[in-house]
Symmetry: none
Amino acid sequence: MSGGRGPGRPRDEQAKRAIHEAALDLLVAHGYGKLTIDGIARRAGVGRQTVYRWWPGKADVVLDALTTRAALEIETADLTSFVRATFAVAPRYVPSLRGLMAEAQLDPGFGERFVDQFLGSRRAVLMDLVGRELPDVDPEHAADVVFGTLWYLVLTRPASLTAAYGDRVLALLRSLGRV
Amino acid sequence: MSGGRGPGRPRDEQAKRAIHEAALDLLVAHGYGKLTIDGIARRAGVGRQTVYRWWPGKADVVLDALTTRAALEIETADLTSFVRATFAVAPRYVPSLRGLMAEAQLDPGFGERFVDQFLGSRRAVLMDLVGRELPDVDPEHAADVVFGTLWYLVLTRPASLTAAYGDRVLALLRSLGRV
Amino acid sequence: MSGGRGPGRPRDEQAKRAIHEAALDLLVAHGYGKLTIDGIARRAGVGRQTVYRWWPGKADVVLDALTTRAALEIETADLTSFVRATFAVAPRYVPSLRGLMAEAQLDPGFGERFVDQFLGSRRAVLMDLVGRELPDVDPEHAADVVFGTLWYLVLTRPASLTAAYGDRVLALLRSLGRV
Amino acid sequence: MSGGRGPGRPRDEQAKRAIHEAALDLLVAHGYGKLTIDGIARRAGVGRQTVYRWWPGKADVVLDALTTRAALEIETADLTSFVRATFAVAPRYVPSLRGLMAEAQLDPGFGERFVDQFLGSRRAVLMDLVGRELPDVDPEHAADVVFGTLWYLVLTRPASLTAAYGDRVLALLRSLGRV
DNA sequence: CCCTAATCGAGACGGTACGTCCGGTCTTGTG
DNA sequence: CACAAGACCGGACGTACCGTCTCGATTAGGG
């Protein structure tokens, strides 16, 4: 059960990493709008089919590259550090995040995956923390406000993203609880 | 006041309207991702060049159509009615708004136009109202929170957009002022 | 009967000349393949419609310009001087002639006009001279050989066009008569 | 002799043949002037890019189709049969030949290819035969006269093309030799 | 030590949209 | 009326990507 591999050449893990890197490199270099599967494959030194074999399209490549790289980078111990870390870390991923959210609007299939899995998992963490630390606050609503503000900055004024802004949003959440 | 028309055949205003309508019709019918300049021109009964003559791309067509149609639909007299109306009216424009925000991420040129003009004018209204009615609240921050929450719903959970949600965000603004 | 003109602004003869010159200038500058009605009108300082009002298309503009300019440039007194002059003068009109023959192949309507009128009138002159000076030679065949050789050089090896080549073709005609 | 195939999917020879046939079919059906790359691709059941991948434009497609189809159709054993066959076979290819010669005038790049390769190879055969059978005749001049007359008929009076006309031109060549 | 099977790089394939160019027509105001 | 200007519809151009396919070569088990 462990490997579960039948015959045939095994998947090349190095190609996977090369594709991840190529995608992120090109993304920051020229923007998501100019990102192409062919460009990724070329830069990764890989056949185009190898990309399509593992991912449905460039959005999923980027999403996979992002989640692989950003895994566990954010503290989830308490509400304050989670929100601060979320805002603090965001600037590093602005190009990817903008592209992913754009694609989610254009491709309904990817949109569902993106909202349910990527956004959903982060919402779940925040809602859990709010439920524990701010029992008077509606976790759903808190998530909308926190992530709404975060994404609005990511999409329209990324230069304003700072850890300090996370503190302001935290203050907002607490003022909500006091009502 | 002279009209400023020089020689030559004047612009066909009917074609302009036909293009606007065609763009919005196709947008709601098949989604922004499948919207095509050629498709718009065909449905409007117009040559493709006529579209390119007046707009740089499909995003600007949609933006122009939207602002033409939605002009003065929103009450700007006081903060409460503005925010409520903004949330109440949003569901009607979800397909357009999602497409425009997506394009703003993919095309930096359009992104700047979109943020500065379309989003900027709405921010200006809100900030003015906040400045008058909630003097203790930072208008910039208020705009980020209100429009951030609005856009987050538009982009990820459009079914949740209701006038009632506008009231919740208003309450949030007021709790901010009380701190 | 002299003017015979009804009301309205009279035709601008200067524009006609400007169009002729513009067409020939652009033709030698960039080749018939890059010649456009719009380009001609622009350079002539004339509206596009003014060109279409007088000629069906660019080929007829060039043909008209050519026949206007080259009128009676060729001696038609005797066979020898006619053939020599025809070959001697040809190099000056190579760009126009190549374009006109090309258009005649692509546009059947213009082709008929071109063959019947432009080529036909020159054939008639040659056939008349042959009939008078070389009674043993079939005038039709002689025209095919003389103009065939001429056009072949115009179309494929214009650098070889010289008055001396006209003499060789004349010798050919005379050898035909001696058989 | 190894075939010289590197990696990658090999060229689809059936598509090549389909494109050739489509081009010639459309050419005789509607004329070279209405021939379109897109039309060829459509009729051949082929993507447009596949045409552009192998040929620079429609003229080269037609030229390739023609030389592929007409290969070895003409006897080159002796002067008499070569000239007769050339005139006898020409009527079948009139639409293609007219289009190719037209394009050669409009597109200098194609013109050079056409004159050097297509016309040049036929000239070489004729000049070789003339050199062997009519040593008193200048082969270059003979080629100009024979092909000049042939092309003049192709371009302006295709109905006159017959094998008998080839005999007349042969007689002309022989009369030249006797001078 | 071959045999089967899956992956790999490469690149051609059918499609579709792009943005540009030009043709030929029309609609203005001015002379 | 003709004229300059210029917008209009139509349609071909050549390019760029998409996602699929077909090659020969490679790299693993399993017989």
